[in-house]
Amino acid sequence: MSNRVVNILVPVISVILGLLVGAIVMLVSGYDPILGYTALWNGIFGDAYAIGETIRQITPYLLAGLSVAFAFRTGLFNIGVEGQLLVGWFAASYVGIAFDLPMYIHLPFAIIAAALAGAAWAFIPGLLKAKLQVHEVIVTIMMNYIALHTTNALIKVVSDGGDNTGTINASASLKSAFFESITDYSRLHYGIFIALAMVLLMWFILEKTTTGYELKSVGFNKHASEYAGMNVNKNIILSMVIAGAFAGLAGAMEALGTFQYANVKGGFTGIGFDGIAVALLGANTPLGVIFGAVLFGSLKYGALNMPNEAGIPVEIVSIVIAIIIFFVACGYVIRYFLEKANKKKEAK
């Protein structure tokens, strides 16, 4: 068994173990796991509409996961995806409403506004980290709260005291008539292509460019990077800014695709925090993020069907998801057993 196979097997086995333990939890709580998982399956793949909605749910997870993974690969922990997403969401909505432009200008403008807003939000912790060595985890967490309440206030200003910005102009929308027609009018939109393009972009930056080489180098060893003539501070800030832009785009997906507006929120969306788990599931690689986002998006959306079809409370699914993450996080144990099994095979 090559290293590659092991790397793929670990998350797969984690998912299976997670589902098994989840089944036990359902049994113990007096529900039928087979019925439950059938409902879950139907919730994800049951019909064209479910599939469309599942992919729609995956889209922001992809970008949130990329944001965390990118920062992590360069030695930073971006807990601020949630806040960056919220400011991106607002920025995209605002541009979508306030301007009336031809689509080929308006839509890119709104998307870029979201990316810039997220980048700007992440710039602050990056700057503080680079110049004053303030830990980015603390700053990004605090920036989440600031983002939540600031965007709420701004939405009130924009809507004259209302709690919703109103629907964006069609010229800024990612809505897809084609997707609607094939998925029975689900909210699936063109944003999935943007998200996948960003996966490619992350891979390209990290693996192909001198910038990526510098970012990784600074992430691993600041001193050697300085010795090699790299600008360490610039790279720390750049890393946060790129991560923030990914998160801002996740906000644009919600603003321009799923919801078509921004509304006052009582709390966080959770997408940003789930992004941490997505990145973890995907071992912080671009391809892995796709895996993590698909898993997360599917479970989150499919779970909504479990109360309807099987009468199982949605909390059970949260537990199953948590158990899967738990097994991935201690993937070391699974790796250990795989390698042991491997050795036995070789010995024979």
């Binding site: 460019t209 080489y213 691993f220 090699a228």
Partner: protein, 516 residues
């Protein structure tokens, strides 16, 4: 003959790489047995097998005549084998006692019984003349003391057989002497010791017998009293080793590096370099001799742009580079083999190939308009690996996995291949074996013969005397004298390094011939 440990015909493979092949090591009771080999020869692998961290593919281990299977370090502990690691395994903000009992706590009614443990440790410490305070915090005691804590840890766990892994690598000469005394004391008390090292002098000083391994193969065991450093060196390297570096006369020409009235402060803001003047010319090696802490590090950091100079100037080929960015200085023609290879020299989590591109990644042909050309990185890496004899499984191996000597060769390869006008080599041979040292010295001399300037910083007088064409003695942030190696002696240098003034009779050639 009663052996306490016998490792017979040990073989260990990592994939297709054979780390140990047919190695036999027999440790007698009450002896200090040295295990000698080059960096990367497989010494650590062999000891990790004995300590239960690796399982051998072939061979047998006997402890006190009985065949055993050491499946993990706990088994080794139970067999009375203790290891004093090169990199200490201590919790910095715990006390000595807390560190020693960690994982093996004495308890009284469910509570850790620190008091009794401390008493026991005090007793052990006295018995072996270790002089360790059981209540001191690790972060407050010297490196030499920390090592004694490691020794106590093994004794506390009842070890009879102690493995010392490169114990002198981070010690001062004074501490080395003390360690040797401690080892002799341990033997008197009936312990047996395996000493892993590549320092021939130590082997001659303390060991009873020596087992030599070369490139993973067991070469044999010799009795220390019946051998000499020359023989050991050639057994280890597999050929004759020249201790005296052969080189022709230097032909220095124009000034390359000129340092004028330089003042540099350390990280606390205290001046460490105090109005220093220095010149290195094309075609010569200038060695800086001095005791650690007299401003050497700050001097080199200021020249290379890693630290700001407070006053004075530095120039390369007449071009002022004072307080320029490191990259500007590199591009002005400076190559730098840094003092701390793990901190500055390498990105340990990068592959060795990526590390070799560290100084040139942004230039053609390694990259073009921001896009890396990893094929060219590969070619460059292969060239360094081949030309500089970097022993690695391949360019994709993480730098962390290489032995110290091979890491250093990779850094030197990277810097020398750029063919800098000035090559700064700070402690280039620290922790390396004689074979690697010889190789590195030759490379420095080659640079010089090609008409380049070389600035060598070393704490080893031998090295300074052997390699340099001129020696500048640094004391308290100033060059107190510049001498020619053949016109001075270690005694004279030693006095100068200790701050003894003398009436200089040798012209301070380099220091007065500034080109304005």
């Amino acid at each position: 003959m009663d052996y306490v440990i016998e490792m017979l015909g040990i073989r260990k493979e990592f994939g297709s790489f054979v780390a140990n092949d047919n190695i036999t090591l027999q440790l007698k009771k009450g002896e200090i047995h040295a295990l000698l080999g080059e960096n990367g020869a497989g010494k650590s692998t062999l000891m990790n097998i004995l300590f239960g961290l690796y399982q051998p593919e072939a061979g047998e281990i006997k402890v006190k005549g009985k065949t055993v299977k050491v499946t993990d370090p706990n088994v080794a502990n139970d067999l009375g084998i203790g290891m004093v690691h090169q990199h200490f395994m201590l919790v910095e903000n715990f006390t000595v006692t807390e560190n020693i009992i960690l994982g093996n706590e004495l308890t009284k009614a469910g509570m850790v019984n620190i008091k009794d443990a401390a008493k026991k440790i005090q007793k052990l410490s006295e018995m072996y003349g270790l002089d360790v305070d059981p209540n001191a915090k690790i972060e407050d005691i010297s490196v030499g003391m920390q090592q004694r804590v490691e020794i106590l840890k093994t004794l506390y766990r009842g070890a009879d057989i102690l493995i010392f892994d490169e114990p002198t690598a981070s010690l001062t000469p004074q501490e080395i002497n003390e360690l040797i005394q401690i080892m002799k004391r341990l033997i008197q008390e009936g312990k047996s010791i395996i000493l892993i090292t590549h320092k021939l002098k130590e082997i001659m000083d303390v060991s009873d017998r020596v087992t030599v391994i070369r490139k993973g193969e067991g070469i044999g065991t010799v009795i220390t009293a019946e051998t000499n450093p020359n023989e050991l060196a050639s057994l280890m390297v597999g050929r004759q080793v020249e201790f005296k570096t052969v080189k022709s006369e230097a032909n220095p020409t124009d000034d390359t590096l000129v340092v004028k009235d330089l003042v540099v402060a350390d990280y606390r803001g205290i001046d460490k370099v105090k109005g220093l003047n220095l010149t290195v010319r094309k075609g010569e090696i200038l060695g800086i001799a001095g005791i650690d802490g007299n401003g050497q590090s700050e001097l080199i950091e200021a020249i290379t742009g890693l630290r700001k100079a407070k006053a004075g100037s530095v120039s390369i080929n007449g071009k002022d580079i004072t307080n320029k960015k490191p990259r500007k200085i590199t591009e002005a023609g400076v190559g730098h083999i840094p003092q701390d290879r793990h901190k500055h020299g390498l990105v340990l989590d990068f592959s060795i190939g990526h590390n070799i591109a560290l100084q040139t990644y942004y230039q053609k042909p390694i990259s073009k308009s921001g896009i890396m050309n990893y094929k060219k990185v590969s070619e460059l890496a292969q060239k360094v690996i081949n030309d500089f004899d970097v022993r690695t499984q391949g360019e994709h191996t993480p730098a962390r996995a290489l032995s110290g000597g091979n890491q250093q060769k990779a850094i030197i390869g990277r810097e020398v291949l750029r063919d800098p006008d000035l090559l700064i080599a700070a402690l280039p041979t620290r922790g390396l074996d004689v074979g690697a040292i010889e190789f590195i010295h030759q490379r420095l001399i080659e640079q010089r013969d090609n008409g380049k300037a070389v600035l060598l910083l070393s704490f080893e007088l031998d090295e300074v005397m052997n390699v340099s064409d001129r020696i500048a003695v640094i004391y308290d942030g100033q060059i107190v004298d510049t001498l020619l190696p053949k016109e001075t002696s270690e005694q004279e240098l030693g006095l100068l390094m200790a701050g003894q003034k003398k009436n200089s009779n040798i012209a301070k050639q380099g220091d007065t011939t500034h080109v304005e």
